[in-house]
Symmetry: C3
Subunit: 323 residues, 3 copies
């Protein structure tokens, strides 16, 4: 962390309220691996803006409420102080809180769901962290994916919970070849930005720029790999013949973005071989995202970041030394 944050660190240490705010902000920052309150703040503003602009303020509020629920639950469970201070018990809760109002109709029970989902995401985080430390591999956003899938699937059984924005469950139908069409520069640029903002479930260009800024203030390589992931994701998806509407909406790009940041700028030390290895994973993320869209069709739930989690696990588990 940069020295210029020293004054904020001093402030946080001096006040339990500010320490708590710091934990919340870092929780948001960890969605893209940044243990940095300023990144978290910029990400938070970006998502609030995107939610508001999209006429869905409940999404940004849901994120905040679940983040609070998760962080408080983690404190109640007396988890390790270091992880708590680094925001490690916040990012999955925050994502759960963004996802539930995105796919469900507003209701009182939705807010129960948001609080409850944020709280249990911490238990799942602790469970998976304990499991994956066997292989010294990060759990990434797996707790978010698992809990959100279960909560969204559960809406089918309860009339008080309406998953009105969920894709309808159905039979997998291969893409119609006519669906792939030329991708013009404007669409390419739009897809580039939405690929980054969809990491937070938002298709909003200006928010993506703020997210990039949030990455850059903490880690320039992370910002670069986010862009590289988006570009490689777009080109791969288009070259393989994906539906252009999916591409411009960023729905085939957010997983490659996360994979590229994780492998290129977080878990391995950059170098030529790491870059090639990360690109291989980034391309695979696009294909696996296509596979996940098909695999989730019978269940009528969104893929979330499952492709990123699966591919990044597969590329971290070998524990390769790139020297």
């Amino acid at each position: 962390m940069n020295k210029s944050y020293a004054w904020w660190e001093g402030l946080s240490a001096s006040s339990s309220v500010l320490r708590f705010v710091d934990r919340l902000l870092r929780g948001v920052g960890q969605v893209m691996f940044q243990d940095n309150p300023l990144s978290g703040l910029l990400f938070f503003i970006a998502i609030a803006w995107g939610s508001w602009a999209g006429g869905m303020p409940q999404v940004a509020i849901g994120g905040l409420v679940a983040l609070l629920a998760g962080t408080l639950t983690a404190q109640w469970l007396r988890v390790d102080e270091a992880g708590l201070n680094a925001g490690l018990y916040g990012f999955n809760a925050y994502l759960v809180g963004l996802a539930l109002p995105t796919f469900m109709e507003p209701s009182l029970l939705l807010w129960f769901y948001v609080v409850f989902g944020g709280a249990v995401s911490v238990v799942v985080m602790l469970a998976l962290v304990n499991m994956f430390k066997t292989w010294n591999v990060s759990v990434l956003t797996a707790p978010f994916v698992l809990i959100t899938w279960l909560l969204l699937l559960g809406t089918n059984a309860f009339s008080g919970l309406q998953g009105s924005a969920l894709p309808a469950a159905g039979i997998i139908v291969p893409i119609d070849p006519a669906a792939a069409n030329p991708l013009h520069l404007g669409e390419f640029l739009k897809g580039l930005l939405t690929s980054i903002s969809q990491v937070f479930l938002k298709g909003h260009g200006p928010a993506a720029l703020l997210l990039l800024a949030g990455l850059a203030v903490s880690s320039l390589p992370a910002a670069v790999f986010a862009l590289v992931g988006a570009v490689v994701g777009l080109i791969t998806a288009h070259a393989l013949g994906a539906e252009s509407q999916l591409i411009t909406a960023g729905l085939l790009g957010f997983n490659p973005v996360l994979t590229a940041i994780a492998l290129g700028a977080v878990f391995y030390r950059p170098g030529v071989r790491v870059v090639i290895y990360s690109l291989l994973a980034t391309v695979l993320s696009v294909i696996v995202q296509g596979a996940m869209i098909a695999a989730m069709t019978p269940f009528g739930i969104p893929t979330l970041t499952a492709a990123f989690v699966l591919v990044t696990w597969l590329f971290l588990l070998p524990a390769l030394k790139f020297e």
Copy 2:
């Protein structure tokens, strides 16, 4: 174990036949975590009664046959004596033997399936125990769920095996809001009892009372948490708007019952924080059971105790110390 069982312990130790009977009874008792032959006997009588009353004697017989097959297989495989004596190689086999005749048409091949399923459930138990000791977590009824799912799914490919009572595979359809209706006291009480008896795949009130008695003779906290799990399960399901027919049949309640016993009375030492933690898991079990019902729809198989296994794993894996 209570001192009053000393005479039975002495008897069992003196005769290999009685030791074997003791193993069988404890195997039944372990379905609800009780290493206690009297609990096992009461559970066994309860299920025999429920099967007979429901016009399905083959269910009780299937349980016994699979229990025998499983216990003999475990002995042939020379598993650890302590686990064998505690009935740890019996409970999954017993459940497999109850489930197969519940969902399949009687035939000679059904009985091959029951014997075979009981036998291989022991191999699966050994496999998962070896895997999960990495994290010091119990495998619960996962072997039962896995083997029963595979055997029931397999009926689709073989005309000699008719899964006539299986749900038809189909497209997931969200619950119709009209399906949730008021839950009267009588229905509530019925749902309370069937939630307990459905642990053994039976919707039978009197059997549930015997099951509670079987729990109480071995562990009063276990009986209390079974009731708490049932009540919390019912209230949660109804509050979220579940179909009342599912609630009164106990089909949303047996997973919360098992989760509440496991976390509240078996794997953690009771205390205020453990009670809150267990309640969180109990509520989650209801939602996950709703999710499992949806998730199994494309496959046309019952959810069994998968929701209990998944949620309890997630709440055991953190290995929290509640002091």
Copy 3:
């Protein structure tokens, strides 16, 4: 390994080109667990013959291309020399390369898929090997199954990739009892051979004889257990009432063949108890293959060797000592 291979060993050690050819051949041999270049050569010829005879030369070529891609990727990743020399980084890639052209329409992008699939199969191999060494269990063909499933599922999202020979995704429908009909001797023998050749995704009798020869030159027990697995698989499938067309095509037999070789002749030392244990697993493989056919129906993808992998894992994980 037999002493008569000493001259080849000497040659391989003396030339990096021959060492590379040796790695490729052993990679093919490892599909049926044989660390033997002659087995690999015979297997390779068998599959080339079967592909050619079936009018699908691209399948044999695909296998070779992916094998090259996988072995080169392994070398680039600087994996352990011993595993590389034993062909452990080749067999999954080879199978991926056979499977993709079997289920997809020829196109330029298919060949990208073949090269890419071969390369990433090595990463998945390294990932799973690292994971499963926790329990000292082999990963078998799991990398092949996982990567091929993902790549085939992904074809649904990309118009440049046509999975034209894939089963259409649909609703699971239990077998019509009329589908099972008498199995005559000729059909039985045909099923016996195709059960062996389907290990390499080919229904070709003469190829099966070459495969058996390839097994026998390396390990007579492996050849015997392959035959036993095929016979037990056929009898079990027929006795349970499987569709005869599936049986004669070998589609219910290749998993039992692999399970029987793995448990009977590779991972446990042969003996009476091991034989019984292996037979139990072989029978289970047939049922699980039936289950996998049903389970994959909603996804519209082939089962590949998933039944073998799952059952063999379950029978290896107990780490039993059969003395």
